[in-house]
């Protein structure tokens, strides 16, 4: 209690220094609040898109998984509809969709063009309930359920000069490698601001099954729970089910295409947070170090009067934490203002940047301000104080009373 009172007194004793220290923490926490909200928003959207597109969990054959980058249609799941029905019986599974993704050449005329793309064949329910393609339609409509319909991503449609109402031919391959065409009428053009939608050639499942010549097969089975956090649980349930014992089951963040991105997100978050904490800690260290040097004689007297080394450390750390708590609280509050603005208005990166990112980043990105973000920013502000006061506190504790009292 005495140490706490001493710490409070020190806080009030040099207001300029206290304000300077608090200002450093304030700046740091404000910056952390904005940065963390931004990263949460951007990466959250990215991972949500990946989990929506790739399923919270996914089933495929072992042979397909081994050569997935080649998308070998011959290694498809047979009787995928039966597998979907089996998956729906598992607790936690809310939806299961067989899907085919395969490379095609898209043309509007007679000559096979240079426009290659990935054709996606899935039940209409997947497009409406999981991909939410309806909200991305910028021209025309979603699938109406009639035969021979397609929705094209805006980039693809522009590349072949296709408009709503045009008939296109997607020339792909059967599972044996024979050319197989699908003719479809463009009913809608979609722009989701990311490559997955803008480069997409979306078709109902049956035409692509015919193209691939796989009867009731599919290259993958996508499984969805309530949200993407259930991915690993769903994957574990599927692995334990005999119906899937010969197949490969992956949670969304275990899939090769997403696992690397998820790991990268963690690294980027840590690096950015660490840099901000470190820079702000330097400021705190500077002012606290000044405090120790100014109070050398006083510390010596207190040490001579019985203040222990740990007590000296606690004295400075508590002083630092107190200042950081005030600075952090104000910093978080101030940081919430631009973070909220970014959450509401976002930033338009432009289609070019979004499409060249290599991952399904949205062209218009938004921050996401959550209680977790605010708490994390505040706690990291306190960390700033802890890191910044650690060395000065140790230095103060190392002062010998005799030397301190001798100094001027």
């Amino acid at each position: 209690m005495l140490l706490l009172r001493l710490a409070m007194r020190n806080v009030r004793r040099n207001v300029h220094r206290t304000v300077l220290t608090a200002g450093t923490v304030l700046f740091g926490t404000a910056l952390l609040t904005v940065a963390l909200a931004w990263l949460t928003g951007v990466f959250g959207t990215l991972t949500n898109t990946m989990a929506s597109f790739g399923g919270h969990a996914r089933v495929m054959t072992t042979a397909f998984a081994a050569r997935e980058e080649l998308m070998p249609l011959s290694e498809h799941l047979q009787h995928a509809d039966d597998l979907a029905a089996a998956a729906m019986k598992l607790p936690g599974v809310r939806a299961a969709y067989p899907r085919i993704v395969t490379g095609v050449t898209l043309t509007k005329g007679d000559e096979i063009g240079d426009q290659f793309g990935l054709a996606v064949g899935a039940p209409i329910g997947w497009y409406t309930d999981q991909l939410h393609l309806g909200k991305d339609i910028v021209l025309g409509t979603m699938f109406t359920g009639a035969d021979g319909e397609t929705v094209l991503g805006r980039t693809v449609a522009e590349a072949i000069h296709a408009q709503v109402g045009d008939t296109i031919i997607a020339l792909g391959m059967t599972q044996d490698g024979a050319m197989a065409p699908v003719k479809a009428k463009v009913v809608g053009i979609a722009s989701g601001g990311n490559q997955l939608v803008d480069n997409g050639i979306f078709l109902p499942l049956e035409p692509l099954r015919w193209m691939a010549d796989v009867d009731d097969g599919a290259t993958e089975l996508l499984i969805y729970g309530d949200d993407k956090t259930q991915g690993k649980t769903l994957a574990a349930e599927l692995r334990a089910d005999p119906a899937f014992s010969n197949d490969v089951v992956q949670a969304w963040d275990e899939q090769p295409s997403t696992a690397g991105i998820v790991a990268m997100i963690g690294v980027v978050n840590s690096i950015i947070s660490s840099i901000i904490v470190f820079v702000c800690a330097l400021g705190v260290w500077n002012t606290m170090m000044m405090s120790v040097m100014e109070r050398t004689r006083e510390i010596g007297v207190m040490r001579a009067m019985g203040l222990t080394r740990p007590g000296t450390v606690v004295l400075f750390v508590v002083e630092g934490l107190f200042i950081a708590a005030i600075g952090g609280a104000v910093g978080v509050a101030l940081g919430c203002i631009p973070a909220y603005a970014l959450q509401v208005y976002g930033v338009n990166l432009g289609d070019k940047m979004a499409h060249s990112a290599g991952v399904p980043v949205q062209s218009h990105v938004y921050a996401l301000l959550t209680v977790g973000v605010v708490t994390e920013a505040f706690l990291l502000g306190l960390c700033t104080a802890l890191v910044g006061t650690a060395f000065p506190a140790w230095r103060a504790a190392s002062i010998q009373p005799v030397d301190a009292m001798r100094s001027r």
């Binding site: 044996d176 490698g177 024979a178 065409p181 699908v182 003719k183």
Partner: protein, 259 residues
């Protein structure tokens, strides 16, 4: 001395004459033909002015076996046409090749698609044969420089082993090694290589039959694409007629769209 001088002069003067003769040597008791002669024999058998054939093509892959029946028409080296008769999925599909250009009539989408470039070298109907393999009938002698490297027994048949190097980099198979039947002059086995030296395909021919004019032609071919795993394609000539009169329309886009 004069006699010796005259004899030496005769021997010396005969050397250029012998050297100028075609390279006919003797291997055992059979005279080795020149590579050029062999290729001209092969071309005489394998190329044609016109031809129609009904072909059964069986494509074996690790997953399944598919059988196609097709009617083919050929005229010269660069014009050919194919119509698929079976299975139902592919019935009515037509292909037309004229020179370096190829078109396909795809009944499922009722559309003619032009195919060019690298697609000509893709497996036709997922088989081990490319469109170019199936629809081309070029003279080997025009495309390759060859040399006879010996006599070998291949698939139980006494053959000449001939190595061929393409004269032109645009040829699909820059190197070929052929085993040419010494009697029928049919390349009963061929190894087709990429420019890197990688073996791309092995093409065996058997059931050699004699047609009008003494032409020898294989009624069965087995092709294995070495870049694929566990696949093979067998072609059986159900019927074949050479020198048949073909309508001009057969090699036109009108024929493609006629159904």
């Amino acid at each position: 001395m004069n006699r010796r001088f005259v004899l030496a002069l005769l021997v010396a003067s005969s050397i250029p004459v012998v050297a100028g003769l075609p390279q006919i040597a003797v291997a055992g008791e059979v005279a080795v033909p020149t590579a050029d002669q062999l290729l001209s024999y092969v071309d005489k058998n394998m190329t044609f002015a016109t031809r129609t054939a009904t072909i059964k093509m069986t494509v074996v892959s690790p997953q399944r076996t598919r059988t196609f029946v097709m009617q083919t028409f050929g005229r010269g080296e660069t014009e050919s046409a194919i119509e698929y008769l079976d299975p139902a999925r592919d019935k009515g599909t037509k292909m037309l090749r004229r020179g370096d250009e190829m078109w396909m009539w795809l009944p499922s989408v009722e559309s003619v698609q032009k195919i060019s470039g690298h697609m000509l070298r893709q497996g036709m109907m997922g088989s081990d044969l490319s469109y170019e393999d199936m629809m081309g009938a070029a003279q080997l002698r025009d495309k390759y420089t060859a040399k006879v490297t010996g006599a070998e027994t291949k698939n139980g048949v006494l053959c000449w082993r001939v190595e061929m190097i393409a004269k032109d980099a645009t040829v699909a198979y820059p190197k070929r090694i052929s085993w040419i039947d010494q009697k029928t002059h049919i390349p009963i086995s061929q190894e087709l290589y990429a420019v890197s030296g990688m073996l791309l395909k092995v093409w065996d021919m058997s059931d050699i039959r004699t047609y009008d004019g003494g032409r020898q032609f294989p009624a069965k071919m087995v092709i294995i694409d070495k870049l694929k795993q566990g696949t093979s394609t067998t072609i059986e000539m159900t019927s074949i007629t050479f020198g048949v009169a073909l309508e001009e329309e057969t090699f036109s886009q009108r024929w493609l769209e006629r159904h």
